[in-house]
Homo-oligomer: 236 residues x 2
DNA sequence: TGTATTCATATTGTATACAAGGTGGTCAAT
DNA sequence: ATTGACCACCTTGTATACAATATGAATACA
């Protein structure tokens, strides 16, 4: 249901999505119509339709008579995210293993190749977006609209968080990143073999890894409370 | 994010939702802007925004340059529905038991009372809509936006299917209906007690009941294939 | 008779003008 | 000096005119 490809409207739609995912547009920041109109060369009517659609997909929130804002990420968001993600990701991977077409598997391999090379030489943005793309393809494979909407929303926030933990200057465990890449490879193998149980459990493993990275970001080791429990043993 | 309450725009939004849920607007039927404009006394700009929003929530689908249609229900839809529903419903009920506020529990009791009386003396529409309302409240209780979007979409189709199996002329097992009502009562009790395991398993039971009703609708007993397996034992 | 092409019509998409509401600042009164 | 109301400006919401695209019928051709 995205606007027709190639049009100015679609350009605006894609650009906004990307800008939000990459944190170029910050969570909670306000979006003024006139600014965006001049930026994308659209009049207000189609621009508003783009915002309406982005709102429907969870990228932005609309406030009556007070314009649009990039949807924000609070610690509440993060908690909700932690609860829903393992459930949805494992269900998606199970269905992906059941339903993937050969063309989709081929797409996924390309996406994984892009992710791998982004881990080696790419920017933070490259890493976050190629990872995002990988998981969206698994969503397409699962081919279940009811779960897809949930995955889409999870990926919005997952990718925004990833923009932080893929940051190279944190130097946080390059081992973790290559482990994530290896898990992607395993997922492809499980999907190609139609092994749904393995695919589902890989999703959980992959999620656990992400969760650890997120915890590192939310609660950096350097700031551990002297008498508190270790962050890595924090109860999920 | 619904339009501001009380406005003509909101009226149109609510009326369209209701008309789609009750099958007054048939799945797949086309929605012409000018017709709706005169019907709701809106100009095309705000009406199109209503359609955009309904599209974002899965009630309608927009086709570029070819207008909007009520989102349709095919056998593919139904299969996807069967796969996703138990997962999402049980997760929602578990979270509802964890998070429900007293005010929400009170709302739920009211909704259940309305459902019960609709089963006794109400129309098909009353039954379907009060049941819908009950489950949407459990979704609010769960308070997880990632899962909520999925529940919302499931309920659109669940309610539309229910418009068929709540039909009194089918006389299909009045016992089943009162059983559904009793399960609602049990759910309320589990939520009020904060018993999340029980709430989750009740969701699965409740779903199994719904599924049987849906199967009866999709594959009526009178048309069983002579050599086929029994519909009630159809593998999920 | 069947098929392709073209044009008239209807419907959707976009721009712009106007209306309504919200924000922030100034000024007055206590 | 602080607080309140008022007013101007700015942003969003709606209506309408115009442009672009699809649809279907009529016609010409094979």
């Amino acid at each position: 249901m995205p606007p027709t490809r190639g049009s100015a409207k679609n350009d605006a739609y894609e650009a906004m999505k990307r800008a939000i995912l990459t944190l170029e547009r910050k969570p909670g920041s306000s979006l003024e119509e006139s600014e965006l109109c001049t930026a994308f060369g659209l009049s207000r009517t189609p621009l508003r339709e783009v915002l309406q659609q982005l709102a429907g997909e969870g990228y932005v929130v609309l406030q009556a008579n007070r314009g649009a804002r990039v949807s924000d990420m609070t610690h509440y968001t993060l908690r909700d995210f932690f609860l829903a993600a393992p459930l949805v990701y494992s269900a998606i991977m199970r269905l992906a293993a059941q339903n993937a077409t050969q063309a989709q598997i081929s797409d996924l391999k390309w996406a994984q190749e892009a992710f791998r090379s982004a881990l080696e030489g790419g920017s933070v943005t490259d890493r976050a977006l190629t990872n995002d793309r990988f998981h969206r393809i698994t969503g397409e494979m699962a081919d279940n609209p009811y779960l897809m909407v949930s995955l889409d929303r999870l990926l919005i926030d997952h990718t925004r968080i990833a923009m932080t933990f893929f940051r190279p200057n944190t130097k946080s465990d390059p081992e973790r990143l290559s482990q994530a890449s290896r898990q992607h490879d395993d997922m492809i193998a499980a999907i190609e073999a139609g092994d749904e149980d393995r695919a589902a459990s890989l999703a959980l493993e992959h999620w656990a890894l992400s969760r650890d990275q997120i915890e590192l970001f939310v609660m950096p080791r350097g700031l551990e409370a002297p008498l508190g429990q270790l962050p890595t043993q924090k109860s999920a």
